[in-house]
C-alpha cells in the first residue's frame, strides 16, 4: 500500500508542518533546530551574564556586601559552566545547523532525528545546572574546572553538575558526528573539500576535536562521581590516588575545548571579512592548513594550565615551547584577514565592525596568552585577574563578537528581514567600549596581584574594580539592545533584498531566495 501511494503520500508529508509547540518539539528541520539552539544559547548567555553581574556587583567595593563567600563561589562556578557549555558551544552548533547545509548545498543534516535529540538534551542539562542553586548546599562551588578535592567534597549541587556535564557531552558528541557526516557525505556535486567555505572547514575540524575530547571529559566526571559515591580513589591521595592527575585529564579536554570555542569564530570571521572587503579570502588554503595545525597543536599543550601544580622543569619547558608555537598558525590567520582587507572596497556594516573588533581584541587576548605561556611569568600571574582578562579577551571579544558578526550577517537570510543598521552599530560601539572598560583594567589588577575567585580584596584594588564593575553592567545592558535589535528585525524589520551583501559568494546567498525556504536544496546545486 505504501508503495502504491508512495508519491502522493510523500508529497503530502513534505508539506505537513505540525503547528504550535509540537512543531518545535518534533522538528527534524535543520533551520528550526538551528533557531532553537540560538535562542537557547542566548537565554543561557543572559543567565550566565546575570551571574557575572552578581560577581561584579559584589566586587564593586571592597568588603562583603551582596554575596556571601559560599554563594559568590557558586556564582563564579556556574557563570563559567553556563557560558562555556550553555552559551558559546550551543550557539556555534546553532550556526552550524543553519549554515552548514546551506553552504554545502545539502537539503538537511545527515541525521535529522538525532539532531532533534541533540538539542532537546540541552534543556534537562540546563535545568539541572540552574536548579542546583536551590538544592541543599547550593550549586557546585569549586570553579568551572571542578578540581578535586573541592569537587569531591561538595554537596548535591556537584552531582547535578556532573550529570549535566554528561548530558551536554552526549549532546555535543551527537552534534559533531552529525556535522562530520553531513560535511563529508552531503556536499553538492562539484564542491570538493578545498572549495568548501571556511566556516564549513573550521566546523569540520572543530567537530573532530569534539569527538576526540568530549569522551575524555565524560570519563573525568565519571571518575569524580565514583570517587564521590562508590569508594574509588582516583583523585584522593589518602587512597593512593592523585589530585594532579585530575588536572592533567581535565586539561587534556580543556585546552582543545578552548579551540572548539574559537575555531568556528575564525570560520565566521573568514566569511564576513571577504564579503565586506569585496575580495576573496587571502590565502584560503593556508587558512585551512592553519586551522588543522592549530587543532593538532591544541592537543599537546594542556599542561600550560598547571605550571604551578608541580612539574619537572623539562615538562614546563616542553609545554611552554609547544604553547608559544601555536602563535605561528594563529599569526598566519590574522595576517590573512588583514591581507584580505588590504586594498579591498571595504564597507563597515555591523557584521564587519564586529569582525574587525574581533581581530583587534582577539590579538590582544592572543598576546596575553603568549605572555601567560612563559613559565616564570605564569607563576606570577597564575590565578590572578590577569588570567581572567586574558581569557575574556579570547572568549568574549573573540567567540562572542564573532557570534554577533555571524548573527547580523545571516539574519537577513534566516528571516528575510533587515536589522536596524544604526542600532546594530550602536550595539557594536557600546559593546566595544564597555567590554574594554570591564576587562582591560583587569590586566592591571592581575599584575598587581589580585587573586581570582575571591569575593573581597585589599583597598589598593578598589578603583580598578569599580571601573570594571561599571563596564560589566554597561556591557550586560548593551546585550539587551542586541535582543531588541533581533526581535525588532524578526517582527518588523524592512524586507531584505535577495542579496543584501553584494560581496557574498557562498551558496546560501547565490543559490537560494531570501529568506531561505523551509526546505532548501531539495535538488543539489552544481558547483562550478
Amino acid at each position: 500500500m505504501a508503495a502504491v501511494h508512495g508519491d502522493a503520500h510523500g508529497h503530502e508529508h513534505d508539506d505537513h508542518h505540525p503547528s504550535g509547540i509540537m512543531r518545535w518539539i518534533t522538528t527534524t528541520n535543520h533551520k528550526d533546530i538551528g533557531t532553537m539552539y540560538l535562542w537557547f544559547s542566548f537565554a543561557m548567555f543572559l543567565t550566565g551574564g546575570t551571574l557575572a553581574l552578581g560577581i561584579r556587583a559584589e566586587l564593586f567595593q571592597p568588603g562583603i556586601q551582596i554575596l556571601q563567600p559560599e554563594l559568590f563561589n557558586q556564582f563564579t562556578t556556574l557563570h563559567g559552566l553556563i557560558m562555556v557549555f550553555g552559551a558559546i558551544m550551543p550557539a556555534f552548533v546553532g550556526f552550524a545547523n543553519w549554515q552548514v547545509p546551506l553552504m554545502i548545498g545539502a537539503p538537511d543534516m545527515a541525521f535529522a532525528r538525532m539532531n532533534n535529540w541533540s538539542f532537546w538534551l540541552l534543556i534537562p542539562a540546563a535545568t539541572l545546572l540552574v536548579s542546583s542553586f536551590f538544592v541543599p548546599g547550593g550549586a557546585a562551588a569549586g570553579g568551572w574546572t571542578f578540581y578535586p578535592p573541592l569537587s569531591t567534597q561538595g554537596g548535591l549541587g556537584v552531582d547535578l553538575m556532573i550529570f549535566a556535564v554528561h548530558i551536554l557531552g552526549a549532546s555535543s558528541i551527537m552534534g559533531s558526528i552529525n556535522i562530520i557526516t553531513t560535511i563529508l557525505n552531503m556536499r553538492a556535486p562539484g564542491m570538493t573539500l578545498m572549495k568548501m567555505p571556511m566556516f564549513v572547514w573550521t566546523w569540520l575540524i572543530t567537530a573532530y576535536l569534539l569527538v576526540l575530547v568530549m569522551p575524555v571529559l565524560a570519563g573525568t566526571v565519571t571518575m569524580l562521581l565514583t570517587d564521590r559515591h562508590f569508594g574509588t580513589s582516583f583523585f584522593n591521595a589518602a587512597g593512593g590516588g592523585d589530585p594532579v592527575m585530575f588536572q592533567h585529564i581535565f586539561w587534556f579536554f580543556g585546552h582543545p575545548e578552548v579551540y572548539i570555542m574559537i575555531l568556528p569564530s575564525f570560520g565566521i570571521v573568514s566569511e564576513v571579512i571577504p564579503t565586506f572587503s569585496r575580495k576573496p579570502l587571502f590565502g584560503y588554503s593556508s587558512m585551512v592548513y592553519a586551522t588543522a595545525s592549530i587543532a593538532i597543536l591544541s592537543c599537546v599543550v594542556w599542561a600550560h594550565h598547571m605550571f604551578t601544580a608541580g612539574m619537572p622543569t623539562v615538562g614546563q619547558l616542553f609545554f611552554m615551547y609547544a604553547t608559544m608555537l601555536i602563535a605561528v598558525p594563529t599569526g598566519v590567520k590574522v595576517f590573512n584577514w588583514t591581507a584580505t582587507m588590504w586594498r579591498g572596497s571595504m564597507t563597515f556594516e555591523t557584521p564587519m565592525l564586529f569582525a574587525i573588533g574581533f581581530i583587534f581584541l582577539f590579538v590582544i587576548g592572543g598576546f596575553s596568552g603568549v605572555i601567560c605561556a612563559i613559565v616564570p611569568i605564569d607563576i606570577q600571574v597564575q590565578d590572578t585577574y590577569y588570567v581572567i582578562a586574558h581569557f575574556h579577551y579570547v572568549l568574549v571579544s573573540g567567540s562572542l563578537f564573532a557570534l554577533f558578526a555571524g548573527a547580523y550577517y545571516w539574519i537577513p537570510k534566516w528571516t528575510g528581514r533587515m536589522y536596524n543598521e544604526t542600532l546594530g552599530k550602536t550595539h557594536f560601539w557600546l559593546s566595544m567600549f564597555f567590554f574594554n572598560l570591564t576587562f582591560f583594567v583587569q590586566h592591571f589588577l592581575g599584575l598587581a596581584g589580585m587573586p581570582r575567585r575571591i569575593p573581597d580584596y585589599n583597598l589598593q584594588f578598589a578603583d580598578f574594580n569599580m571601573i570594571s564593575s561599571i563596564g560589566a553592567f554597561g556591557f550586560g545592558l548593551t546585550q539587551l539592545l542586541f535582543l531588541y535589535v533581533m526581535i525588532n528585525c524578526i517582527r518588523s524589520g524592512e524586507k531584505a533584498p535577495q542579496k543584501p551583501w553584494d560581496g557574498a559568494t557562498t551558496l546560501e546567498w547565490t543559490h537560494l531566495p531570501t529568506p531561505a525556504p523551509y526546505h532548501s536544496f531539495e535538488k543539489p546545486p552544481v558547483v562550478q
Binding site: T192, A292, I296, V300, L317, Y321, V328
Partner: protein, 70 residues
Amino acid sequence: MSNDTVEKQKVATVWQVAKAVMFAFMGIRKKSDLENDAATLKPTQLIVGGIIGGILFVISIMLLVRLVVS
C-alpha cells in the same frame, strides 16, 4: 607508459606527504603546490603523515628541551 608515470608519482609521495604536513604545521601553502597535493595525495596518506608529523614534532621539542636543560 602513462601507468609508469602514475607508479613513479606514487613512489615519490613520501616526500610529498612530508612536505604537505610540514607546511600544514606552519599553516602556509602555495596555491599551485596545494592543487598538486589535492590531485596526488590521498586523505589516508595525509592522516598517517599528520600523526607521524605530530609524533616527530613532540620528539623534536623534547630533544630541544633536553638540550636546553643539560
